[in-house]
Symmetry: C2
């Protein structure tokens, strides 16, 4: 599969899908120490309810989570499709022999301390391992990674991850990024079809996973965090195919010399390479991002922002200076901010005589009545209904303030409902800015968390600040415009 | 004073300082409704303990917070130095007469709905008001603003603001930005000498306040949020003088056409003007920022980052992919990231035989032992002691995780103490990245808030993410370098 090029991707998809649907699993290096990964792998599979047998393997263990433990792989009864390895690097050659004996098709090597150390002996071991698994006909995820999170198939590497599946596929060379993207994403309403943390890519690599996600019917949006690329030509052809079918967000780690060193790969002329890389990512129709936060922002956008036909944006700016900041950030992001058109001005004249001539875009909430009679929402509703606008960005920071009032609970409820109708009812692209839930006052923080949770659960694209929202919206509108203009043949 | 140019700033300082030290205050438009600003102004002064008389004025009120209320200003016994106005715009001409009768020297007009509405009648009223106060010899802050927060003199406009003074002076045309900067700043350890929210600047303006802060012995760092500028030549000469003495951070609202409209001022050829503006701010030796978050970040940096002689930065990157991201962001911010020098490598060889050859810069915490034997901190301590580095940026995200362990409390305490020693003991510039306290799990959030509070209180520059930290450090090191090279004659 690492050698497939061109039109063989459906085969790649099916082959990986078969590997990712094991009937039985063995966790070698399972452990009774709750701080260890050998404990958590078993716990995670038990808790998510993996339907087949889960076999802990460790000569020092009798049982774990009610599952009988075996001294070595060969002692496990019946077939073992999938082997998860939490043993030290020195024990992995033996592990491959055991996996072969049990007819395993896939090994996930959580085991680390291979080529990423930069040490000769460790790199030699990785090469040896590579030829042994090839010989045995076993495919490998890793080493030095978290492995496979596939909630629909009840496979997961950590007990804390959501059990509900979603439609985002994420391939990542870094395990810590897998946790961050799933965790941050969860709080903003994202769920995943599969997350594959694949580390040093001894066998299965970025291009295999891209091909898989491109064809995967459960995956609508793809994100990739890559450090090294095994085969550039194959990667960009996989990227082009994937991006023609689905939005693909790409984060390259090791863009700088220091980052490159940190990512444990070495090349000369990095700056020039990065320029070529950027051009190739753009040409493939994918979207490059700089940070994990930005990657999550773009996933939230593609998942929830909705559709827009142009870049005329209606903005609820906040109050006073915040409105001015919103205006500057929106303009600098390249949006048009049309003032309310004549029909809407007439409507305003009737309903808000004190402010009708004064309401602009962004809308300044400080000049309008708030609370139950929230005029800001009324204005935004008019904008959402007007053909003068393609998209909405609403700074609704402080909805949770209502909880500080006597009648707050009901007002809070009403405002949330109104926000949901505004975002989802207009048929336009919409983003909500909530402010960071970083207050040190507990009731405010709890309120802010509740606002985020309710809006995210309702399928609204939520952002912690205007800067990140405008940046994401700008890239999104650019993507939609390129698709409209047919500069790429894909669609979503 | 609005006409002073050149060398008259000490006089400006003293004149304003006299105005800002009233013996007695009247709040006109005081109200018994706790939702109103006329209530909160009185409450705020009472609670912070303003030592002189506070007189609520309102014909419908008997008393407020135990202070007898008077039907109009003229009925207040004795002199009134400072009048705070929360009456509607239509009542302000009468208010000026009352203030004049009582010998008031300063009026703060919270009152809004003047020229900012863009309406002719309201603008005419503002002009009339302007000539009346000039005639009466009364100085004015406002209209359309929050006024004066001067904790050392026990003056404040909101009951929620900290009572302890600090050394940052902030002048802001926007009242909402006053709240955000004080609030966000508070959580990151910032305190203020004075914050002046001055709105439409009918009389006292940005240049007056800049001149004041430049000479103010209580102010070491100045921040300014300005939308319109009354007199560009005077402003830039004030800015040059101020920036020669103290760091000055400037945020311009209304950089874009839409922002300009939102800021209610109108000029042609804005883009060209902004280019000139940027050049002039840079030439004056001040630091321009784009958002309020960035403004707070720069204040935190100047207040707490400490001194650096160069741009060689030692970085604790986090774990795995985070380390690579840290490396990329640091490199893209223009830092040098030297690898550990030979002496340090020798020291590592002795103390961390499993990782000595592998430790890089950024330091990857995932390859080191953690918990009580935290090797990441040990490595950072060696870097802090090494002449190979000028500054430290440490991603310590997740210190609060310790609270999830049985022995967590003590480990948490130890780690915090160690972090404090690392930041403050090296004599090098230092910044700590904490991660956003945005978890929806309560114990994590509480732990994160506690980490931020303890480190901020210990005088450590804390940041929510690596992107913002590297951006601030980069601008800071640039500022220090310009000072070293004498490209500006100021110092701090």
């Amino acid at each position: 599969m690492s050698h497939s090029r061109g039109g063989a991707e459906p085969a790649v998809h099916d082959e990986l899908e078969a590997l990712f649907r094991p009937q039985s699993i063995a966790v070698v290096g399972a452990s009774a120490n709750p701080q260890s990964q050998g404990y958590e792998f078993v716990q995670a599979l038990v808790e998510i309810g993996f339907p087949g047998p889960i076999h802990p393997v460790n000569p020092k263990l009798d049982e774990l989570f009610g599952r009988k433990a075996y001294p070595q792989l060969e002692a496990v009864p019946g077939a073992v499709d999938f082997v998860i390895s939490a043993v030290p690097a020195s024990a992995t050659l033996e592990l491959v022999e055991g996996a072969r004996a049990k007819g395993a098709k896939l090994i996930h090597l959580f085991t680390a301390r291979f080529s990423e150390t930069g040490r000769e002996e460790a790199t030699r071991l990785e090469r040896e391992l590579s030829s042994r698994v090839k010989e045995a006909g076993i495919r490998v995820i890793g080493p030095n990674c978290m492995g496979l999170y596939y909630p629909k198939a009840k496979l997961t590497f950590d007990p804390g991850l959501p059990a509900e599946p979603g439609d985002i596929g994420f391939l990542t060379q870094s395990g810590s990024h897998a946790f961050r993207v799933i965790g941050r994403g969860k709080e903003r309403g994202l769920r995943f079809s599969k997350v594959i943390s694949y580390g040093n890519a001894l066998d299965l690599c970025e291009s295999d996973f891209l091909d898989h996600f491109a064809e995967d019917p459960d995956t609508s949006i793809i994100a990739a965090y890559v450090e090294g690329i095994r085969d550039g030509r194959r990667f960009f052809s996989a990227l082009r195919r994937a991006a023609a079918k689905k939005p693909v967000i790409v984060l390259k780690g090791g863009r700088s010399p220091a980052g490159h060193t940190a990512a444990s790969s070495h090349t000369a002329a990095l700056a020039g390479q990065m320029k070529l890389w950027r051009g190739a990512v753009r040409q493939a129709g994918a979207i490059e991002v700089r940070t994990i936060n930005e990657l999550v922002d773009m996933l939230v956008t593609f998942e929830y922002a909705g559709h827009a036909e142009g870049n005329r944006v209606a903005v609820l700016g906040g109050a006073g200076g915040e409105t001015v900041e919103s205006a500057d950030l929106c303009s600098e992001a390249g949006f048009e901010l049309p003032l309310p058109p004549a029909e809407m001005r007439a409507q305003l004249r009737e309903t808000m005589p004190h402010a009708w001539d004064w309401v602009g875009n962004p809308v300044d909430a400080s000049i309008l009545a708030w609370g139950r009679r929230s005029e800001s929402f009324a204005v935004m509703e008019m904008m959402a209904a007007s053909p003068a606008y393609d998209a909405i960005i609403a700074n609704v920071r402080g909805i949770e303030q209502a909880l500080g009032r006597d009648d707050g609970g009901e007002l809070f409820r009403d405002t949330l409902d109104r926000a949901k109708r505004l975002a989802k009812g207009s048929g336009k692209a919409a983003m909500f800015v909530l402010g960071e839930p970083e207050s040190s006052e507990e009731w405010r923080w709890k309120g802010a968390i509740r606002v985020r949770e309710e809006l995210a659960t309702a399928g609204i694209a939520v952002f912690p600040d205007m800067d990140r929202a405008t940046h994401a919206m700008s890239r999104y509108l650019g993507y939609l415009a390129r698709r409209r203009n047919g500069s790429s043949n894909g669609s979503r």
